[in-house]
């Protein structure tokens, strides 16, 4: 098991990198994490976003769990906010999350296969 000493090493390494991010500037990824989202599989989706973004050292992107927006049938819903631009993805699974990180967050191109308009409610 990794001990608190290991955590101290991680802290010291991170301090030398000096890439403390501001909280709400830049892109925001909102993952629906209410009962509907959780039972549709939002937990692994959110963890994929968090891990992929951290792994690729992408700065100024925050991933946040949010409540339900009332379209429970098409959960897991993920919204990406960039300034005034809002992209809503629905029925996101781990595979879709990986694509969104790669193509949208890194590549800057909306992944049309999963945007909300593609599905009939």
């Amino acid at each position: 098991m990794k001990s608190l000493d290991d955590l101290k090493k991680i802290r010291d390494a991170a301090q030398s990198k000096v890439n403390m991010r501001g909280k709400n500037d830049g892109m925001r990824v909102l993952v629906g994490m209410a009962t509907c989202g959780i039972s549709a599989g939002a937990r692994p989706v959110m963890n994929t976003f968090v891990e992929k973004i951290a792994e690729n050292n992408i700065e100024k992107v925050t991933v946040t769990p949010v409540g339900c927006i009332g379209e429970c049938a098409i959960e897991p819903i993920v919204e990406i906010l960039e300034g005034d631009i809002r992209t809503t993805y629905c029925r996101v699974d781990v595979e879709a999350a990986e694509r969104i990180v790669k193509e949208h967050i890194i590549g800057g191109k909306v992944v049309l296969d999963y945007v909300i308009g593609k599905y009939r409610l």
Binding site: R11, A14, T35, R43, G67, G70
Partner: protein
């Protein structure tokens, strides 16, 4: 929901909604007595007696985006399916406690599952909340406290990749260790 850790994540969202800044999650596994117990205690704004009597009704919710609220009802159902029960108590301005008891070896008792994933999501909530996770397995005990971790981190965010991995590993291995220790 096929893992109890998903229910825990769901119930804790209620605590966050209630403005709690400390959530205590305690798992007690007692093999001899055949008990699996989950206790979730928060210091949120609590509920009135009337609200408390309504929360396990699936058609009760405080939200406005939809007409049903299934979180507590599903958790209760999961407990009752495993020959157990789910009890809520709450005091306004003090907090709320949810206690669910399951028969440990009941066929319909869902596994705890990836509790480290649930805790990780709770930590990343916008409103910073402290999590005290205690896991008891017979006489062994494992504790994870975000306040302790924060002290060591000294300002390094929880979103750092190595920190995320450390937390997940610590919880996963910590629980495994107490279970192995006990079965020796």
């Amino acid at each position: 929901m096929n893992e109890l850790s998903l229910h825990i994540l769901d119930i804790c969202q209620n605590s966050i909604k209630a403005n709690a800044d400390l959530i205590e999650i305690t798992i007690t596994e007692n093999i001899d007595k055949n008990i699996f117990m989950i206790e979730i205690t928060d210091n949120g704004h609590g509920m009135s007696k009337l609200t408390l009597s309504e929360v396990s009704d699936p058609f009760f919710t405080t939200r406005t985006t939809r007409k049903v609220g299934l979180g507590v009802s599903l958790f209760k159902m999961a407990a009752e399916m495993a020959n157990g029960s789910c009890v809520l108590s709450s005091i306004v301005d003090i907090g709320t406690k949810v206690t669910a008891i399951f028969e440990h070896n009941h066929l319909d008792r869902a596994p705890l599952g990836a509790i480290e994933d649930s805790i990780n999501i709770l930590i990343l909530n916008e409103r910073e909340i402290e999590i005290l996770y205690t896991h008891k397995y017979n006489n062994q005990i494992y504790i994870f406290d975000t306040r302790e971790v924060k002290k060591v981190l000294d300002g390094i965010p929880f979103t750092d990749y190595n920190v995320i991995m450390w937390i997940k590993n610590n919880i996963k291995e910590g629980i495994k260790m107490i279970q192995e220790e006990e079965s020796r």
